[in-house]
């Protein structure tokens, strides 16, 4: 039932660590393999209220899967974090932090044994608890070569880091963005103080043509 060539992060702890525990405060290069996700497409600009609803719905829709995962994997089960992808039709809108022109989607990585059909069944089982009709889909995403960094602290500091990434680091390394900008939230914001929140910033890249 598992998709061939999909990495099982539960078995490959080293890969899990590389992807979800990068060094803090510095840019590092990582090769992100193909991973399965439950995806919720965002509508309108990325506002806190619509993002919160999407995240709640995503976690609700995958709840039966998560329960099955806890039973199947026992002690090796790891709580998956929520991730957001952002992009703009004009990528220059990006480093300026004009979020009103950004587009977004929320996603949570799934165990390798979950396919589109299982995700659909899971969401159907939670129909009554979902606030919206699910705009939910299963997708395998392969980001490939990425630059990433772990940020600990307030989100107010992010624009400065992104400015550094897009205007300094990437040009210096001869790289350019090749896909949506990606943030991974390692904490539940309703339980963790803003100054302690851990966020992974990730940007897929390719070599800039000379």
């Amino acid at each position: 039932m598992a998709d061939e060539g999909m990495i099982d992060l539960i078995r490959d702890r080293a890969m899990l660590h590389t992807l979800y525990a990068p060094p803090a405060g510095a840019f590092s290069i990582v090769d992100v393999p193909r991973l399965p996700f439950a995806v919720w497409d965002g509508e309108g600009p990325p506002e806190q209220s619509s993002i919160s609803t999407a995240i709640r719905n995503l976690y609700t829709a995958i709840y039966p899967i998560r329960r099955e995962a806890r039973e199947r994997m026992g002690k090796s089960f790891v709580e998956p974090p929520v991730e957001l992808l952002y992009w703009a039709d004009d990528m220059r809108e990006f480093s300026t932090g004009h979020r009103e022109n950004w587009r977004w989607r929320a996603q949570i990585t799934l165990p390798v044994w979950v396919n589109a059909k299982r995700l659909e069944e899971s969401a159907a089982e939670m129909r009554q608890e979902l606030r919206l009709a699910p705009t939910l889909r299963w997708e395998a995403l392969a980001e490939g070569k990425c630059v990433q960094s772990l940020h600990v602290g307030q989100t107010d500091d992010l624009p400065v880091i992104l400015e550094r990434l897009y205007s300094e680091y990437l040009p210096q390394e001869g790289l350019e963005p090749s896909g949506p900008y990606h943030e991974i939230y390692l904490d539940d914001w309703s339980r963790v103080s803003p100054i302690k929140r851990k966020i992974i910033l990730r940007q897929p890249v390719r070599t800039r043509p000379t």
């Binding site: 976690y59 609700t60 709840y63 806890r70 939670m126 608890e129 539940d188 309703s190 339980r191």
Partner: protein, 180 residues
């Protein structure tokens, strides 16, 4: 220092991050914490006041005309929180079920009303198991440590249900003493 359940609960919420009173109310509501503690909206400030007097939380009014008081934990508060949390986890505190008193007076009832009452308890336990399951589904996402807390309650209820079923079966097959 021994904190009441409400005091320990609020201390823990303020330890996560500095919070306003109304924010604490919101968290109590969304996490369903009123399931285990009787703490009304009006008593939140009263309990916080007691914690403040004991030097466990700090109440600050930030600059600004309409600013609300923010409560944050002190280092002494943190010390007490850790101490009390460890003792809550490691020390068993017996809680007495109404079932014990009911069972003691079993012979006071007629056979039919005793069996019917226990059968009624079976229905109410089953309803509670379902209610918790519903809550669990509605309260996603739940971190793992909360998920296992629900496992704990569910397994306690399941154990009671097993006991009721076995006891009903046993009592139904026994002859009933005739009253003199």
């Amino acid at each position: 220092m021994n904190l009441t359940d409400s005091e320990l609960l609020l201390l823990g919420l303020v330890a996560e991050m500095p919070r306003h009173g109304y924010e604490i109310e919101h968290v109590l509501e969304t996490r369903g914490m009123r399931e285990w503690t009787q703490i009304g909206f009006s008593s939140i400030y009263f309990v916080l006041g007691k914690l403040e007097k004991a030097g466990l939380v700090l109440a600050e009014v930030p600059a600004g005309t309409k600013a609300r008081k923010t409560f944050s934990i002190t280092s002494e508060g943190n010390r007490v929180l850790l101490e009390q949390t460890i003792s809550s986890l490691q020390t068993y505190r017996p809680t007495y079920s109404s079932l014990l008193l009911g069972m003691i007076h079993w012979p006071a009832l007629s056979r039919d009303s005793a069996l019917a009452a226990l059968d009624g308890r079976l229905s109410s336990i089953t309803a509670e198991i379902e209610r918790l399951e519903t809550l669990r589904r509605q309260r996603q996402p739940m971190p793992d440590h909360v998920e296992v807390l629900f496992d704990f309650s569910a397994s306690q209820l399941a154990a009671e249900r097993t006991w009721i079923t076995a006891t009903l079966d046993y009592m139904r097959s026994k002859p009933w003493p005739t009253k003199e």
